[in-house]
Symmetry: C2
Subunit: 312 residues, 2 copies
Amino acid sequence: MLLIVRDEIEKILPSLDLMSAIEAGFVAYSKGHANIPPVGELVLEKGEVHIKYGAISGEDCYVIKIASGFYGNAALGLPSSNGVMLLFSQTTGELLATLLDEGILTDARTAVAGAIAAKYLAPSDIESIGIVGTGVQARLQLQYLKPVTTCNKVMVWGRSLEALEKYRSDMSALGYDVTPTQDMEKLAATCNLIVTTTITEVPILKSDHIRPGTHISAIGSDTPHKQELDCTILAQADCVVADSIEQCKLRGEIFKALQAQAISGSDVMELGNIISGQQKGRTSDTDITVFDSTGVAVQDIQIARAVYEQAL
Amino acid sequence: MLLIVRDEIEKILPSLDLMSAIEAGFVAYSKGHANIPPVGELVLEKGEVHIKYGAISGEDCYVIKIASGFYGNAALGLPSSNGVMLLFSQTTGELLATLLDEGILTDARTAVAGAIAAKYLAPSDIESIGIVGTGVQARLQLQYLKPVTTCNKVMVWGRSLEALEKYRSDMSALGYDVTPTQDMEKLAATCNLIVTTTITEVPILKSDHIRPGTHISAIGSDTPHKQELDCTILAQADCVVADSIEQCKLRGEIFKALQAQAISGSDVMELGNIISGQQKGRTSDTDITVFDSTGVAVQDIQIARAVYEQAL
């Protein structure tokens, strides 16, 4: 059994072609070639644990990911997220590797999904990237967009002026031209690629100000309670894409819009089908497109496998 | 994170008071103090994976166990069972320990459950122990009965003469007086504590020959398909005890007997309630009692915690 710790994983990550690996994962998933049981959940007094697991047919490994959020950890000076991924042989069941990633692989595979969505759904001319939120995912989404667009104009929205300034300063150091704002209308009027990364339960992005041609990747909501987009955005969009239709019927923006009867199930496409060309996403530069990310075990399988193979 | 490998676990096991720990686990479970989500299952081409997990309120750890059976492994010279147990903090979610037990902790906690059932349900005078099967569990069940009875007379049933002779020889070396047989009727007529440990799907122990006063621990069946006891045994028993009523309604001997309408749900007691004295199991030395073991996550939690604390 190979034990791979966070430091090693951090060193390995930049060398991996995660876009290709995770695109292949989404395609396998949408083609029905992945065996992904329902997410296991354990709700404790001080935190929540999610178990995502499954296997892609014909691959060597099956993967089990345990990810948790303990929201009192900040007060203890500890990260709230925790995680470990286990790779087992699909042939013999042997444990091949334990990836003590402490949640960074979940962060990375989520950012990669955003980049894949932008690659297939964003308008051809991205004028300015709008980032909603200032946390880890707000940073990673921008960084992982590098292979997708040369646009370096960024507008970032946040509630805390201090966090906004920190984001501006950190991302400027990476070569981005960052304008902080607390005015969401201004962000929507300026940017035609918007990535939302907050944990809000009250929608903060409204349909009124979305520009024609905009693509929105809604990353933050992955539960039945969280919601970043006003349902009307999904109702008015020309194209709504789920990472997993099955999962998005139970959680995330699509769940909320279905519940509000703003959209119907048949309006929703699946990312793997867009990647494989089986479904057509954006059809013109004025289409509004929305991607809803809830996080699927195929992403975990593919990133864990890529790290493991590189470590070998 | 503490990594504990099989060799260390084997050294630690004999020093542990597993009976007490697992009895406490069953009691907490039956009192509703354990949070045990449904078993996660992943069915692959060459094997099956079960994820059992949960937490007991007020304890330090939550535990996730991954156990698999890959039935083609024997041909590759590998054990068919595999397993790993992970202990996490219930307070912060941190991974505290990985127990690379390769399934031996599942074997041990299953044998301990058999011993606990015998302690509370077997007749006061055990004349001869009947073991059905000759595999790992057939050996461990006998060994873990040591603190429960001084009886060393054993009759063992098996299909293979070679395996029977090996069992006789190995167990005789441990001080048992072992009589091999291929006649189940003879075993039932001789023994008043019977432990069945096979993976048969066709019942092999029949009601006709069970002696008054006998206790039977049915260990082998833990799926909706496996069945070792003729349903009439459960119908005629004075006392039928599940490790988990909820789980036994879906798998094991009780599931089969309910399905055949040989018993009704209200006939079934739960081991934790017998241990705590809340329910009365055996009421006389002529009662026939049956314990159905399907394996509950509280057993995994308790054995993992005991190993971890000792390793610290």
